[in-house]
């Protein structure tokens, strides 16, 4: 392995950015490909697939055998709101492999009694997110209904290009939210990325069912990164 490739790879991993080490198993030469780098042909298609799935493996291309070692940051889920939905979402997300953190400044809601074994911040999103910024491998679900708590986090999630952004509330509530986010300086294109009403449409009614819908939508968003609506590589 090229020492420079190793250094680059470790730097990308430390920064929570996806990278693939491409090794030619014939001559041992290797290089780092970052997510979004353009690579042509069959090798490029295999690299794009590996970025989406996170699976490593060998690929035959250009008459050679390459090994693609995909290093994807661990996806995580940040929930704004220590509410009933979050109580159901926390264990489900953990089981699904999406570590979850909850932020809610209302100390009556954000108690370890209500959220055992959950990373819980009884603070304003502004304070937590300035300390631990969001990134492209983070999903954000805002479920407080309270603009004072949700709005800053939603704007931050759009700015950080979070792979999933969802917000609880009816279409009417969301229309008002869109206006507030525009006033905060978010572009209409970015705002359109927000899933609202939140969650896959499975007819969810109870808080636990809504949690399932949010988690399913988060997984769909993660596994289809870089794809357009028809499933073709963008």
């Amino acid at each position: 392995m090229d020492p420079y490739a190793l250094k680059t790879l470790n730097a990308e991993r430390r920064a929570r950015r996806a990278a693939i080490l491409v090794t030619d198993l014939g001559d041992g030469r290797d290089r780092i490909v970052r997510e979004g780098d353009q690579v042509a042909g069959d090798l490029g298609a295999a690299i794009a697939k590996a970025f989406r799935s996170g699976n490593s493996g060998s690929v035959e291309a250009e008459g050679r055998t390459f090994f693609l070692n995909a290093h994807l940051p661990r996806p995580r889920l940040v929930v704004i709101g220590a509410v009933h939905i979050s109580q159901a979402l926390a264990p489900m997300a953990r089981i699904s492999g999406y570590p979850l953190e909850i932020i809610d400044p209302r100390t009556a809601f954000a108690t370890s009694d209500r959220f055992p074994d959950v990373a819980l911040h009884a603070e304003w999103p502004e304070d937590v997110l300035n300390r631990q910024p969001l990134d492209a491998y983070t999903a954000l679900a805002a479920v407080t209904h309270d603009p004072k708590i949700d709005d800053f986090a939603l704007k931050a999630a759009l700015d950080a290009n979070c792979f999933y952004v969802g917000a609880l509330g009816s279409r009417k509530t969301h229309a008002k939210r869109v206006e507030r986010l525009l006033a905060l300086g978010a572009s209409a294109d970015r705002i359109a990325r927000i899933h609202a009403p939140i969650g896959l449409d499975i007819g969810a009614a109870s808080p636990a069912e809504i949690a399932v819908a949010i988690l399913a939508q988060t997984i769909l968003a993660f596994r289809s990164r870089g794809l357009d609506a028809k499933g073709a590589a963008a």
């Binding site: 392995m1 020492p3 190793l6 470790n10 090794t23 090994f67 070692n69």
Partner: protein, 112 residues
């Protein structure tokens, strides 16, 4: 599985390999490139080895690490990468095979 969002710097094989390199050590990196059947570690897993046979990480959960370390020390000396294969079909199965019945292919290369 660790719940850490960031790297476990003290145990991450590739971080350790970089640190060893900075200390001026000769290092080999072994990578699982293919698995068949029930293999204990997934494709992409690493074992890193120095010239004295010290190692971190795993390619099989303990079944074949000893053999990989021996080969890796040779690879550090020669600079020539090697492809190793282990499994129950292997005639050395009883010495260094995978008791789980799987087979794995491990690519061993020198760093630098």
């Amino acid at each position: 599985m660790s719940d850490s969002l960031y790297l476990d710097e003290a145990r991450d094989p590739l971080i350790i390999a970089e640190a060893w390199m900075k200390e001026g050590k000769d290092v080999a990196i072994a990578t699982v490139v293919e698995t068949w059947g029930s293999a204990p570690r997934p494709v992409g897993s690493h074992l890193v080895i120095d010239a004295d046979g010290n190692f971190h990480g795993s390619v099989s959960g303990g079944c074949v690490e000893g053999a990989v370390v021996t080969e890796a020390v040779d690879v550090i000396g020669s600079g020539e990468a090697r492809m190793l294969e282990f499994g129950v079909a292997d005639e050395t199965a009883w010495q260094v095979g995978l008791s789980c019945g799987g087979r794995i292919k491990v690519y061993v290369e020198r760093l630098g």
